[in-house]
């Protein structure tokens, strides 16, 4: 079969050419695209092209009841859905003056950290795959799946847990769950040396990732970088500690930083955060049984629930960075406006465009994966 339209076209005379990077491309996290202008394999210009995952969440949320949105929000960031639920719930609780029971707060912290673990395993597994090391990805995703099993047990859903609702959480922790979580943590901790051997201290990887997508702390602050990516430039900042929510102020954990600001540093920060998340989870496992009480404060009938007029801007630290919800209520049964500030809306657009300048074609995927950019947060 040789239809006429498959005639080869002559290459442009100059060295400069343009390349579509995505949306159907393994070097792209999710459904996202780049248009890069290359000279040889050096990037002269990169333009993000988003919107492939646009669903109009913010519009949809204005048309649904407060509680119905709970099913909607986790979809905004698929690999790390729990912070979305928690952040949205926190906003409603702030507007509505709901007092979340202590136990629910601890359960939420537990989920958040489980989700962070899962997301980080996924993130550097993905990063490894972009550099051609599929074994790390196989391991990372398989170990993440074990966390998803615990999510399934706790929340009834593997990925979209839809477990946090304004006022608390939907169910209590199942019998024996904490023991199983604890042994999972032991397992994950025992796996960390394996990952170190295979990936983080792998000379080829270090050589590949060092200096890729490097930014200084000043640049990072100027560009609005947050989360692990900011910490990789040496700034010790974490919303969990510096703008505490839930019970993070009662927990003991460190904020790992790196100084390189490049793909390697970002991965090492994530690697260190795995350890910290395990540490937080251990504390939760220890404390949770002693915290008794309800898991949810009484909320009105969801079909007839008017959240009082008001507005709230709540922030949580997701695995990708600073996640914020701006929720406005006019006292109706539906939100008047919900604005989602996903961390990737910075990382995947401006930061990526800037870091890609002058980078090599083979590093674009690395930059994107090392920023852990999550396209649906951009598109919403």
């Amino acid at each position: 079969m040789r239809p006429e339209n498959y005639q080869a076209r002559s290459q442009p005379p100059s060295n400069e050419f343009e390349l579509n990077f995505g949306p159907n491309h393994p070097g792209i996290e999710g459904n996202y695209a780049f248009r890069v202008k290359l000279n040889g394999d050096q990037v002269l210009e990169a333009r993000a092209d988003a919107g492939y995952l646009h669903r109009g969440f913010e519009k949809l949320m204005e048309g649904r009841l407060w509680i119905q949105n709970i099913a909607l929000v986790p979809r905004i960031c698929v690999p790390d859905p729990v912070p979305m639920e928690v952040c949205y719930s926190l906003a409603i609780e702030e507007i509505g003056g709901l007092e979340v029971p202590e136990r629910a707060k601890w359960i939420r912290v537990m989920q958040l950290e489980m989700s962070r673990l899962a997301a980080h395993l996924f993130a550097f597994g993905g990063h490894a795959a972009t550099t051609g090391m599929y074994t790390t990805m196989f391991w990372g995703v398989a170990d993440r799946d074990l966390i998803l099993d615990r999510f399934e047990e706790l929340t009834g859903g593997r990925v979209y847990s839809i477990y946090n609702i304004p006022g608390g959480v939907r169910r209590d922790v199942p019998e024996g769950f904490l023991d199983r979580l604890s042994s999972l943590l032991d397992y994950l901790e025992s796996r960390l040396p394996d990952y170190d051997n295979l990936f983080f201290t792998n000379q080829v990887f270090v050589k590949r990732a060092r200096g890729v997508g490097a930014m200084t702390q000043e640049q990072a602050l100027k560009w609005g970088v947050t989360g692990p990516n900011l910490r990789a430039t040496g700034l010790e900042f974490d919303v969990r500690r510096d703008d505490p929510y839930l019970v993070y102020d009662q927990l003991d954990f460190e904020i790992p930083t790196e100084s390189g600001g490049d793909a390697l540093a970002r991965n090492l920060v994530r690697r260190a955060e795995l350890k910290q998340s395990i540490r937080i989870l251990r504390q939760v496992i220890e404390r949770l049984p002693s915290i008794e009480g309800p898991i949810r404060c009484p909320i009105p009938n969801p079909l007839a629930w008017n959240v009082p007029a008001g507005e709230a801007y709540t922030r949580v630290e997701s695995s990708k960075g600073e996640l914020a919800y701006y929720v406005v209520s006019t006292g109706g049964d539906k939100p008047y406006r919900v604005h989602v500030r996903g961390p990737s809306s910075m990382h995947a657009v401006q930061v990526l465009e800037k870091l890609a300048l002058g980078a090599r074609l083979e590093d674009i995927a690395q930059i994107m994966f090392s920023l852990d950019a999550c396209p649906p947060e951009v598109d919403r």
Partner: protein, 616 residues
């Protein structure tokens, strides 16, 4: 980096340590689907025995995935609050959030641990599923996400209604119930899941979901507007209605039903009377039909019919034998339950529309039926049940043996009678409670203490009076005995000293007829100065006159009418308690029904007249 053995350049040999995984087992799961976790959110199942078709799941579904489908053959009973509808789920929409499970008032719907469903393009109909107890593929899977106490989104407890405590209320006829505050009303209204079971169960089909939602939205005027669509006696019904709606309420399946009655009371009280009149007048025709209608009896049935008919532009005259409107709602219900000014307010709305009430006009005495018929196009009799029945036990003809309705009427009218220091009430219905509690107040006022015994035929399991009535009566110091059948009134030296009763073995015989059997050994004596019979009422139909009585058809002492209240005479209708037995809201419903029937009759007359005009 501190906690990993990280060298600046990395290591080329460390990765080879991973070759150990050649010796480690694979972590791969078998190909067959694993069993899901205990609270997994898989496909739906629905326990059809529990499900009442309330469609609450449909309302909470954020994806518009649920369609209600009528399934013939399933039980359907509006009074019990059961519809033969079941939710069908569109798996092309569902997101398995489980909100339908959490909000289900009955707890019938739940999710299973089944999660595999695949189909080809031409089999896409299999995505539209009517969940039954068997699951999507008819295979048994354990339940996953199911109703639990902590996940329940239905608020099972109603807002407490403030009441005067027993000691405070007992010495006056002040209204006991305090009514909801705005905050309470909104919270209580928010419990409603808008299923509409109340609407179906209500005899007059009040738009309860609509007015509850309006109350919740803070729009009480809209609530009143919704009430006046079907009930011009909302003040009365907001206080003394038998609230079948609440029995049918889907929330009541597992918890306390929404306090629909109190919400109605709240909304009516929250709107000024004048504004209510304006709302009631909305939709009244702006012409005069020229038809004249007579209604006998200014009770709920009669006045409701009057309300409907006046809105159609007819001239309506109501003939009332007594000097105040309301009928049995005024003379049968004590003031502490229904303050007269509220009743007056309801009636005032109706009269403000132009209904004329001729008080102190007893038909048969002051005006005859023939005159009514002559002067009007149609006549409705809605005279209620104003005569008490007697037990006819030995001694029941003693003057100190009274009928409850008579006493209640006397209390309302302020007629004086000798309040007994000790009294015995025979009967277990609401009227028995009313008279007992009214007498208790009078006793408290006169003697400072309450000495009343109520002897009911039924046991507490099958009691006729509302439970709250019983509770409140006890709080007021009234002794209530169940399963006591009256034997004889004890009279010593012409003076009544008390009542002897026997224990009840059974009330009905095998055929379900009323034939109480007593245990002759179990005899008790209840001392008292007065015995009050409260075992039922009947209607005084003497006003019809002999000739008319002859002509009409009768059914076991009651006037025989068709389902629209139309008697065998074309111009005569009957409505209310005298047809259906005592119940305010039934009377209202009957009023509407009859008014509609009369309206049709009048329209026929009109068209005949036009035809005549054309032919002539």
């Amino acid at each position: 980096m501190s906690d990993i053995p990280y060298k600046d350049k990395g290591s080329i040999l460390r990765p080879f340590k991973s070759l150990q995984f050649f010796a480690r087992p694979a972590v791969t799961q078998p190909l067959e689907p694993r069993p899901a976790s205990d609270n997994y959110r898989g496909f739906h199942v629905n326990d059809w025995k529990k499900c009442i078709g309330c469609s609450t799941c449909q309302k909470v579904c954020d994806n518009a995935a649920i369609t209600m489908v009528r399934v013939p053959g399933l039980p359907e009973d509006p009074v019990k609050g059961i519809r033969n509808e079941r939710p069908a789920i569109d798996y092309g929409r569902c997101c398995w959030c489980g909100l339908c499970v959490d909000i289900c008032p009955t707890g019938s719907i739940s999710l299973t641990t089944e999660y595999v469903h695949t189909c080809r393009e031409d089999e896409l109909d299999s995505y539209f599923v009517l969940p039954d107890p068997n699951g999507i593929h008819g295979e048994h899977f354990p339940k996953g996400w199911d109703k639990t106490a902590d996940a329940d989104l239905v608020d099972l407890e109603r807002q407490p209604m403030g009441e005067l405590p027993g000691e405070e209320r007992i010495d006056s006829f002040d209204e006991i119930v305090e009514g909801y505050t705005e905050q309470q009303a909104i919270v209580e209204a928010s419990r409603c899941v808008q299923c509409g079971m109340c609407h179906d169960a209500c005899p007059t089909h009040m738009h309860a979901p609509e007015y509850i939602r309006a109350i919740w939205e803070g729009d009480v005027e809209e609530a009143v507007r919704q009430m006046y669509r079907t009930n011009p006696f909302s003040h009365v019904c907001g206080r003394v209605c038998t609230h079948r709606c609440e029995s049918a309420c889907s929330i009541g399946r597992r918890g306390e039903p929404v306090a629909i009655r109190w919400l109605k009371r709240y909304a009516m009280d929250a709107v000024p009377d004048l504004r209510i009149r304006e709302i009631a007048a909305e939709g009244k025709v702006d012409y005069i039909s020229g038809r004249r209608i007579a209604i006998v009896g200014a009770g709920p049935a009669g006045l409701t019919a009057a309300y409907d008919l006046i809105r159609k532009g007819h001239k309506v005259t109501v003939f009332e034998a007594l000097d105040k409107p309301g009928g049995m709602t005024r003379y049968g219900i004590p003031e502490y339950r229904l303050p007269y000014d509220r009743l007056d307010a309801d009636v005032a709305v109706i009269t403000s529309l132009g209904v004329q009430i001729q008080y102190n006009t007893r038909v048969g005495r002051d005006v005859t039926m023939d005159e009514l018929r002559r002067d009007h196009d149609a006549v409705l009799i809605a005279i209620g049940l104003q005569l008490g029945r007697s037990t006819r036990i030995p001694g029941s003809d003693h003057p100190q043996v009274r009928r409850a309705v008579d006493l209640l009427r006397m209390i309302t009218r302020g007629e004086s009678f000798e309040v007994p220091e000790r009294a015995v009430v025979i009967g277990g219905g609401n009227v028995a409670m009313d008279i007992a509690r009214s007498l208790a107040r009078l006793q408290k006022q006169q003697f400072g203490k309450v000495q009343i015994t109520v002897c009911a035929l039924e046991d507490f399991e099958h009691f006729l009076a509302d439970p709250e009535e019983v509770t409140e009566a006890r709080e007021e110091g009234i002794e209530i005995l169940d399963s006591r059948g009256p034997k004889e009134v004890v009279i010593e030296d012409g003076r009544l000293t008390g009542l002897k009763t026997l224990g009840v073995i059974s009330i009905f015989d095998e055929q379900g007829r009323f034939a109480p059997r007593y245990d002759q050994q179990d005899e008790q004596f209840h001392p008292g100065d007065m015995v009050i019979e409260s075992i039922g009422q009947m209607s005084d139909v003497s006003l019809l006159g002999e000739e008319l009585t002859e002509r009409l058809e009768w059914n076991r002492g009651r006037l025989k009418v068709d389902e629209d209240g139309h008697s065998s005479e074309p111009w005569l209708w009957a409505a209310g308690d005298m047809v259906f037995g005592p119940d305010v809201v039934h009377a209202v419903a009957d009023g509407h029904r009859v008014a509609a029937s009369m309206e049709r009759y009048l329209a026929e007359l009109d068209s005949e007249k036009q035809d005549d005009g054309r032919t002539s």
